[in-house]
């Protein structure tokens, strides 16, 4: 059974249809890249999979390990192993990063019927993961993402990914707002989490990110559909020729 199966998905935001019958199959252990121009529906796909309110699914389905994901609230999806690394992680003043991480981790464990982490066990785990990702302790003492640079926010997303150990990671424009050094650090963090039990969907504008996170499959989106799929070489072809060739296909 595929880990994620998106079948003929139609999605509207208010009166406008954004996805017009998108299909995608992702198996455990695979890394998929989704590329496409602005407005092609890449972020909408990630939001619908994570359960963000404001999107109306008018057709098709999204199955996760065979279960209907669209019927679950976002927190249940998270507990089942869906993780969305946000393009723009929000700042939450007044909520300490450690409190947030502990509450989230224990909420997911509780939902799965697992025992909650004790405070010392939790601290040990966070420190371990943070040092692996080169995240300084003082970042953990601040409010969630408050005063973080773009790179720090993305690292905080990867820290959460490492902590929650999801089976499906969706990385939404992870490269946006990052310089090349920050990008490399973030990509190293992601690569360390590649595993035969985990799949990743990397959404990006540019081929550049895929030099660091090398995908098994590349899909090109245009106007709310996947218009071409291929191996990693497809990304290089796109970099050379641009998206214009696919706009006609979708039209």
């Amino acid at each position: 059974m595929p880990l994620l199966e998106v079948k003929n998905l139609h999605v509207r935001v208010e009166e406008r249809e954004i996805l017009h019958g998108l299909s995608l199959v992702v198996n455990k252990g695979e890394v998929h890249a989704i590329m496409g121009p602005n407005g092609s529906g890449k972020s909408t796909l990630s939001h619908v999979i994570a359960g963000k309110p404001g999107y109306e699914v008018t057709g098709g389905e999204v199955l996760f390990n065979g279960e209907n994901l669209l019927e679950m609230p976002p927190d249940e999806r998270a507990a089942k192993g869906v993780f969305l690394a946000f393009q723009y992680p929000v700042e939450i003043p007044g909520v300490a990063t450690m409190t947030f991480l502990r509450t989230a981790l224990n909420a997911q464990r509780k939902a799965r019927g697992e025992s909650e982490f004790s405070t010392p066990a939790f601290l040990k785990k966070v420190r371990e993961v943070a040092s692996r990702l080169n995240i300084p302790q003082d970042m953990l003492r601040r409010g969630v993402n408050v005063g973080f640079s773009g790179g720090e926010k993305k690292r905080n997303e990867i820290l959460q990914m490492a902590l929650f150990e999801p089976s499906l990671c969706i990385l939404d424009e992870m490269d946006s707002g990052l310089d090349i050094d920050a990008l490399r650090v973030a990509a190293d963090g992601v690569n360390a989490l590649r595993s035969p039990d985990r799949a990743m969907v990397v959404i990006t504008h540019y081929q550049r990110l895929l030099n660091y996170i090398v995908p098994d499959f590349v899909h090109v989106m245009s106007k709310g559909r996947v218009v071409k799929s291929g191996g990693k070489e497809l990304a290089l072809q796109l970099e050379a020729d641009g998206y214009a060739q696919f706009e006609d296909v979708a039209a």
Partner: protein, 450 residues
């Protein structure tokens, strides 16, 4: 004493009721005359209503309708009920001073081993000696509104003066530094609907340091009740007073409380108020900076649901130069909760170099909740730094989604954001232990939301 000082319009009935009550209230000589003056002042106006500007959002003629008869002194059953209620309200390391149904109860209070420089008495003793509490000038003079002489004092303060039966009188001598916070607990445990009229006073002498906590609670199965309280605080030069107030009354109770605070030169006053209980509550505080260089921090949190109504009204009078004040208030309103914040800061012509800031924010969790925020600055000096702001809004959907995408349920996500929202006000509490106590009370409120 089973006489309702009620009715509004019918002046005669009211006067007769008071005349009858007065003879049974504690006090001789001058006290009797002062009570009469205070009563006349109240009777001229009756319960304040929406056409009186300061009471615009808390119309007692609609919300309270009448003043209940005075509560009887607690019997043994009431004391037992009070004792049980107190067990659930313990704060470690404090000196507890207990009023039950408006009467000071020594056997429930902690009067042993008084620190050097600390003296504790009762209002009743004072009145029975014929002495009017000297600090009363603070409350009889409406510090914020001297030109409107006919409005003085506030009618509910006048009513309190006319009817007051008991309270705690505390003196902290110059230079004394009290390690143990003083904790005045008001417990309601009447069998029949009744009102309590209490007045307490605290003077912190020159260079002295003290902490005062005031709690309002009810015993299980207490009949509906009204609290009519006044607290007078005088912080002398170079002294520091930390003040925390927790309104945890039962859900059908009325709590109408006034506080007057006078600050000497370089005095430091930090006050925080949490309201989670009560049906209708009003806390009005009059702060007067009488000496240069004083510092004031006022903050508070209202956590309301059901049909609760809580009004915080602050009058801050910068009469002299070089004082600073900070006001930080937060309201969280669910269901049909209604929060009122009125903050008036007056900076008088002589009060140059005043640094005054006020920020009030309300968070609405339901479409039917209501917040009325009215910050006001009246500045008559030209070399000052003053600012105020008010916001009202709902929880940020993008923050909620982020938290839910990380596995938090809707209620957990809301709880975390609400705690962050009120955190800035709660952080103003200086003592770690008392801050934790307040956070615990806020968390209980959040947990009760389910």
């Amino acid at each position: 004493m089973n006489v309702a000082v009620a009715k509004i319009e019918s002046g005669r009935a009211l006067s007769e009721a008071f005349a009858e009550a007065r003879d049974r209230l504690p006090g001789i000589g001058q006290v009797l005359d002062t009570r009469q003056l205070a009563f006349d002042s109240y009777a001229r106006r009756g319960l304040p209503h929406r056409r009186i500007e300061d009471w615009k959002y808390t119309d007692l003629r609609v919300l309270m309708r009448e003043v209940l008869p005075q509560a009887a002194a607690p019997d043994q059953a009431a004391l037992d009920a009070a004792r049980r209620a107190l067990t659930a309200q313990t704060i470690d390391g404090v000196r507890r001073l207990v009023l039950v149904n408006g009467y000071f109860v020594p056997q429930l209070s902690d009067l042993g081993d008084l620190e050097k420089g600390l003296a504790i008495g009762t209002l009743r003793e004072l009145l029975e000696r014929g002495a009017w509490p000297s600090l009363d000038r603070l409350i009889v003079t409406d510090v914020a509104n001297p030109e409107a002489a006919q409005d003085k004092p506030d009618p509910m303060i006048a009513l309190n003066a006319a009817m007051m039966t008991d309270g705690v009188m505390i003196e902290v001598a110059s230079g004394a530094r009290l390690a143990r916070p003083l904790h005045i607990v008001h417990v309601a445990c009447g069998h029949a609907p009744a009102a309590m009229f209490t007045r307490s006073a605290l003077r912190v002498g020159k260079g002295a340091v003290a902490t005062l906590i005031e709690s309002f609670i009810a015993a299980e199965n207490a009949a509906t009740y009204q609290v009519h309280d006044a607290t007078m605080m005088l912080v002398d030069a170079d002294a520091r007073l930390d003040h925390i107030r927790m309104v945890e009354d039962s859900r059908d109770a009325f709590n109408i409380s006034s506080a007057a605070v006078g600050l000497g030169a370089k005095a430091h006053f930090n006050t925080f108020s949490l309201t989670t209980g009560g049906g209708v509550s009003r806390h009005q505080m009059f702060i007067e900076c009488a000496g240069e260089g004083s510092r004031i921090e006022t903050s508070g949190v209202n956590l309301l649901n059901g049909r609760q109504h809580a009004d915080t009204t602050m009058f801050l009078d910068h009469a002299v130069p070089n004082c600073s004040s900070r006001e930080i208030f937060r309201s969280v309103l669910d269901d049909r909760g209604h929060s009122v914040f009125q903050g008036r800061i007056i900076v008088r012509p002589k009060a140059q170099k005043t640094d005054a800031k006020m920020m009030v924010r309300a968070l609405l969790l339901s479409d039917e909740a209501e917040a009325d925020n009215k910050p006001e600055l009246e500045i008559f000096a030209d070399d000052v730094t003053c600012g105020h702001g008010a916001t009202t809004g709902s929880l940020d959907e993008s923050l909620l989604f982020y938290l839910r995408a990380r596995g938090l349920s809707e209620k957990e996500a809301q709880a975390l954001l609400i705690q962050a929202f009120v955190g800035e006000a709660i952080e103003q509490i200086a003592s770690d232990a008392l801050r934790e106590h307040v956070i615990g009370a806020a968390q209980r409120w959040l947990a009760a939301r389910g």
